[in-house]
């Protein structure tokens, strides 16, 4: 258990180091001079204007851009360890502040989407497994494949058309009350719900074939109690594992969905920063997204023994 924890912690740090290094060198070897881009944002406020040589030189001096990449990386990493991720070229605000004010929006969206996919995926998966090979099962399973196959940006457009414009039920854009959450969360949660539904179904069917289910029947338990006490928890074990991965997919998905719904989260910040080549912010976003993803997986590892006593018993 302890060894496992240390190992995971090691991998965790490794991922952070590798991903930041990768992203740092990738971004800093961009075609085009970084100083020009920075000068545009810092002094001109628009990408469509060109800065003067003095402005470019000023930026170079201010940000030490004449140094080698490696020494720039070292100073960036050193500062990052102290929580200083630099300043955005675009707004001149600290990157960590830029990210932290957008973090709640992304976390809310991803969290609600995960919850939604669990609340939809698990019951439907169980239903489909219980009624295996019936018309219900068929409908559930086909809908799930459809949900996985639907491009989420397309779904977003369709949902917006129908629910916001035709039915006027939900606001289309922005960040506000719960009502603003519906469409983005539904769009994001659809594919995950489908994945979780399929997994729940197959894992439920797998569990129902196990000897201990037969043993429970032999004890005289009703079908319902067998499902609830004996099958469900076992069936959920692989589902728990997949939540971590799905969360990663969701974080990727937020990038597109946040752009469409004008949702002020990290995904949109990332896309905007990529367009604007706001390198410190891109770096910060990547770091945070990785961090969030890994923390969640850590958390899942922590709750794992609660549901599966075979893992990390002692």
């Amino acid at each position: 258990m302890f060894f496992n924890f240390v190992k995971r912690l090691g991998i965790f740090c490794l991922v952070l180091i590798i991903s930041t290094t990768l992203v740092f060198f990738m971004l800093h070897s961009l075609p085009g001079e970084k100083a020009v881009v920075m000068a545009k944002y810092i002094f001109l406020g628009s990408v469509e204007l060109n800065p003067s040589n003095e402005e470019i030189q000023l930026v170079k001096d201010k940000f030490d851009l004449d140094r080698s990449l490696i020494s720039q990386y070292i100073s960036w990493a050193g500062a990052a360890l102290h929580g200083d991720l630099g300043r955005s070229y675009k707004s001149n605000d600290p990157v960590s502040q830029e990210i932290l004010i957008r973090l709640p929006a992304t976390i809310t969206l991803a969290f609600v989407s995960v919850l939604m996919s669990l609340f939809i995926g698990i019951p439907l998966g169980i239903l489909a497994a219980v009624k295996q090979n019936s018309i219900t099962d068929y409908i559930c399973s086909s809908t799930a494949v459809l949900g996985i196959s639907m491009p989420n940006f397309w779904l977003a457009l369709l949902l917006m058309l129908v629910f916001s414009l035709k039915l006027n039920l939900t606001p289309t854009i922005g960040y506000g009350g719960l009502s603003h959450l519906i469409l983005p969360a539904v769009t994001l949660g659809t594919a995950s719900s489908a994945v979780i539904m399929r997994l729940t179904r197959s894992s439920m069917l797998e569990v129902m074939r196990q000897d201990y289910i037969r043993a429970a029947r032999g004890k005289g338990l009703s079908r319902k109690s067998i499902f609830i006490t004996h099958a469900l928890r076992n069936a959920l074990i692989p589902v728990i594992t997949i939540i971590g991965l799905e969360f990663g997919h969701l974080l990727g998905g937020t990038v597109i969905i946040e752009t469409i719904f004008a949702w002020p989260g990290i995904g949109r910040l990332l896309i905007d920063s990529i367009s604007a080549r706001d390198i410190p912010v891109i770096q910060g976003c990547v770091l945070f997204i990785t961090l969030m993803y890994m923390l969640l997986n850590f958390a899942i590892d922590a709750v794992y023994p609660l549901i599966d006593p075979r893992i990390g018993g002692n």
Partner: protein
């Protein structure tokens, strides 16, 4: 015996057969695009812009007066070429790495698998976005960005298969006969770890198509006037309200082809021993 049974099993699955038919149709469409598409795909006829579907233009025309049907047809070619390229590239590389890791085990395996763990712990679309953001949009760059993380799953599955195959008697036999490691990997291990890889490839094709379309939608994929579904959707979203055919048809095509690959993949997975597949 095992093969014919799998085939029968597969053919019994109506959804998979339907998926197979759809894919065959789409592949034919892509192959015969030059003959069946009614118009030139990048011929701009501004006077004919934004015409709704009609007999003349069954899917209407776009903002530059180009025939949407023709672009969809050529888009099939773009999408299939790109996604096949990605899948072939990633599966070849992934299987290669997987077999090496599984066959030699030990320190090689340990290093490779830790590397894969590390890369897998990183949301793939984000990495693709950053790569595209760095090297710029374009067809080749899209393939590169998606491939960079795509091989991981193949490597995992191939490794798992190799680990069990290398313990089999026939491999021991071959080794006793003095076959080289390369020979054994290629003629004994590789054919035996193919079934789960093929299933994975089919399922993966669907998600690769989605990734390509997503990048296209963000304007980071294929460059106009190359007809690509995601890019077409991106172009068409400006006209969503008043000319929905510009976004509906490409979206539908993406969905149908992904659906078809998923159906085939599911069918194959059920037909081939399901336990060989690692959960994605």
């Amino acid at each position: 015996m095992q093969k014919t049974r799998s085939l029968n099993e597969f053919l019994k699955n109506k959804a998979s057969v339907m998926g197979l038919i759809i894919i065959l149709l789409l592949v034919m469409t892509a192959a015969l695009a030059d003959y069946i598409s009614p118009y030139d795909t990048d011929k701009v006829v501004l006077k004919e812009k934004l015409k709704p579907p009609s007999w003349q233009h069954p899917m209407g025309t776009d903002q530059l007066g180009r025939d949407v049907l023709s672009r969809i047809i050529y888009g099939t070619r773009t999408t299939f070429e790109l996604s096949m390229l990605v899948v072939l590239f990633t599966s070849a590389f992934g299987v290669f790495i997987g077999i090496i890791a599984g066959y030699y085990r030990g320190i090689v395996d340990e290093i490779l698998m830790r590397l894969i763990d590390v890369l897998l712990a990183f949301p793939s679309i984000i990495l693709a976005l950053v790569i595209i953001g760095a090297i710029g949009p374009g067809v080749f760059n899209t393939v590169l960005a998606i491939s960079l993380v795509g091989w991981l799953f193949y490597a995992r599955v191939a490794r798992a298969s190799t680990l069990s195959i290398r313990e089999k008697e026939y491999v021991e036999g071959a080794r006793a006969m003095g076959c080289s490691d390369a020979y054994i990997c290629f003629f004994y291990v590789l054919p035996n770890c193919l079934p789960p890889i093929i299933v994975l490839m089919t399922l993966n094709l669907g998600s690769v198509i989605l990734s390509i379309a997503s990048l296209g939608y963000l304007g980071l994929g294929a460059q106009p006037p190359i007809p690509e579904w995601g890019t077409m959707l991106n172009d068409g979203k400006e006209y969503l309200r008043d000319c929905p055919w510009l976004s509906v048809f490409p979206g539908l095509m993406i969905m149908i082809s992904v659906l078809a690959f998923n159906f085939i993949g599911d069918g194959l997975r059920d037909a081939i021993d399901p336990r060989q597949l690692v959960i994605k």
